[in-house]
Symmetry: C2
């Protein structure tokens, strides 16, 4: 079939120049006196020919394409942790649609078929007007390169690399975790254990900071127990946690606080381990981040969808204002979950 019509075709049909067509179609007619009849003639011709602007050419000429990138360091759709990432992506898409932005998912291979390194792949994000990054890992060189070039970017999750120059939308895990411990203290718990995974991500260390700070100001030495959740085989992790719980019961522990990780394996192991224990009568349980499908668990929920939405807003702000001020960094509050697994401490 015939090739797609372009502005030149419309110009020929309407008897004007291609420039005039561009001006009229873009609505950019402010400064010009234009015969209304000409305008209508051009619009009619465009309609008749079925004209659609070529977005590639538009972008090349105008350097805005209303596309924002999403770069994930692993897979954007990891199978093991569906419930974790999906709401974030959903929030990103929702807000992007609301702001009229298309999304480019960078798969990390760099579109070259070859196994490109992060460096090349990350640089490719420049095709978009700006980019969202997420993943635990900050490859400093290419991110610094983008930042230095004034390329708008926003990380999802708090970041302190590159001297704090990375814009991000994170979660206030410190406050939320402290609040959970306070709640336990108010319910009379004094022997509390905090179960966390072997993980140095800020989302983990921030939680720990909140727990330990709250415990300290309540004059309470919370014991921190680290298990190698992420690495452990499921079976091994399960029996490790079961032994822990058994020991704690002997030690008079009345409450356990557990960190939720992206895979949910640690909280799952704990839930399994307390299967025969009456919760909260015999033992209170609190999660720092609620796993999907467990609305009964007391603690807090991570505002994942909102995280995605806010990240898009921040990014689009950056793009449209092109401000070179301080990096935009913000923390979102978690959603407190009352649940039914925190009870009064047994006397």
């Amino acid at each position: 079939m015939a090739r797609a019509p372009r502005q030149a075709d419309i110009a020929a049909a309407a008897g004007v120049s291609q420039t005039t067509v561009s001006l009229i179609l873009s609505g950019n007619t402010d400064g010009m006196r234009l015969a209304e009849s000409t305008r209508l003639r051009v619009l009619k011709a465009a309609e008749t020919l079925g004209y659609v602007p070529d977005p590639v050419a538009t972008r090349l000429a105008s350097s805005r394409n209303h596309m924002i990138g999403v770069y994930t360091f692993a897979s954007a759709f990891p199978t093991a942790v569906d419930g974790f990432y999906y709401p974030i992506l959903a929030g990103i898409e929702e807000e992007a649609a609301a702001l009229g932005q298309d999304l480019i998912l960078f798969t990390g291979t760099g579109g070259l078929g070859a196994r490109a390194d992060d460096k090349t792949a990350i640089r490719r994000t420049r095709i978009a007007d700006g980019c969202l990054f997420f993943g635990r890992h900050v490859p400093e060189e290419p991110i610094d390169w983008l930042l230095g070039g004034g390329f708008p970017l926003v990380y999802i999750g708090r970041r302190d690399e590159l001297a704090g120059r990375i814009p991000y939308v994170g979660v206030d895990y410190v406050a939320a975790s402290a609040a959970v411990v306070n709640r336990l203290v108010e319910a009379g718990h004094r022997e509390i254990r905090y179960l966390r995974s072997l993980d140095d991500a800020l989302s983990s260390t921030d939680r720990e900071r909140g727990v330990l700070t709250a415990a300290a100001s309540a004059g309470l030495p919370v014991r921190r127990i680290v298990v190698r959740a992420a690495d452990a085989e499921v079976g091994a992790l399960g029996s490790e946690v079961r032994e822990l719980v058994e020991r704690w019961r002997g030690e008079g522990v009345t409450a356990v606080v557990v960190e939720e990780t992206d895979t949910g394996s640690l909280s799952a192991a704990l839930l399994d381990a307390v299967h025969d224990i009456r919760v909260p009568a015999e033992l209170s349980l609190a999660v720092l981040g609620q796993p999907a499908g467990h609305p009964e668990l007391s603690g807090f929920e991570v505002p994942r969808r909102e995280l995605g939405r806010q990240a898009v807003r921040l990014l689009v702000d950056q793009i449209t204002s092109s401000s070179t001020g301080d990096p935009e960094q913000m923390l979102l509050d978690c959603i407190p979950i009352t649940g039914s697994t925190i009870g009064q401490a047994p006397c």
Copy 2:
């Protein structure tokens, strides 16, 4: 800071022409005798300057940018039906990464902030090398327009619109559904009910065709019961299905086949309705498409991840071969699930 380097900058740095840079970087040096030293000098300069080809310009000049679009008619990340779409998207991403393609998610608003119609939004997909479409809806005009222009596209899900000219990757629901009924027949069931939603999508009518055909060839009049699953309020649907099940028990029904829809509301309602019934001793159950989290249900599973993967392969095939032959259309087999909800019919 300085603008992004382009080929001209490399050319200046290496003391060659921009053409030579383009040739060397694209690896398009077959027909030319090129001093290895020049080649290295250019590559070095590109590396030093941190050159990244502008994909927009590349695309405008060469009509390839290693990006494939994903156009969904609603949201790509609908909240209600996570389990349904997620594996398809995961498959798309996986295969796209394997083939070195980035993904553009078209949000459907057309990138203009304004509420653009499908027509405009769909035409925008032309920015990519090709596009995957999914959704129950085929807006014939813009799709025809893309097809007519030779734009590579693949639908996810079987389509018969536009005189069968739409390339797709679908699922062989007819065969899979027939197999389920055959299995019930072999287990001695004669009074079977088929529960389906009020839905005219091919994925629904194909299932029905399989069920009815298999029943007919077994000499068995399967009663087809249509409930308005999709539209019904959850409560209303629940009680409607509960009444049905009660009636069926009085009629001596020994097996129920239920269609799985994207929201899963119908199978959920059925599971709830048979809560007090011993399955499969008193009643056998089969699902035409297994809902997440119910590995015990007999029937088949839709190969969703594979659907995404194959769609990408077909699309990339189209893009790279630019064949103008018959539309590529393929059906994937479902995965039979033995499960534990089909038993021998009570005598």
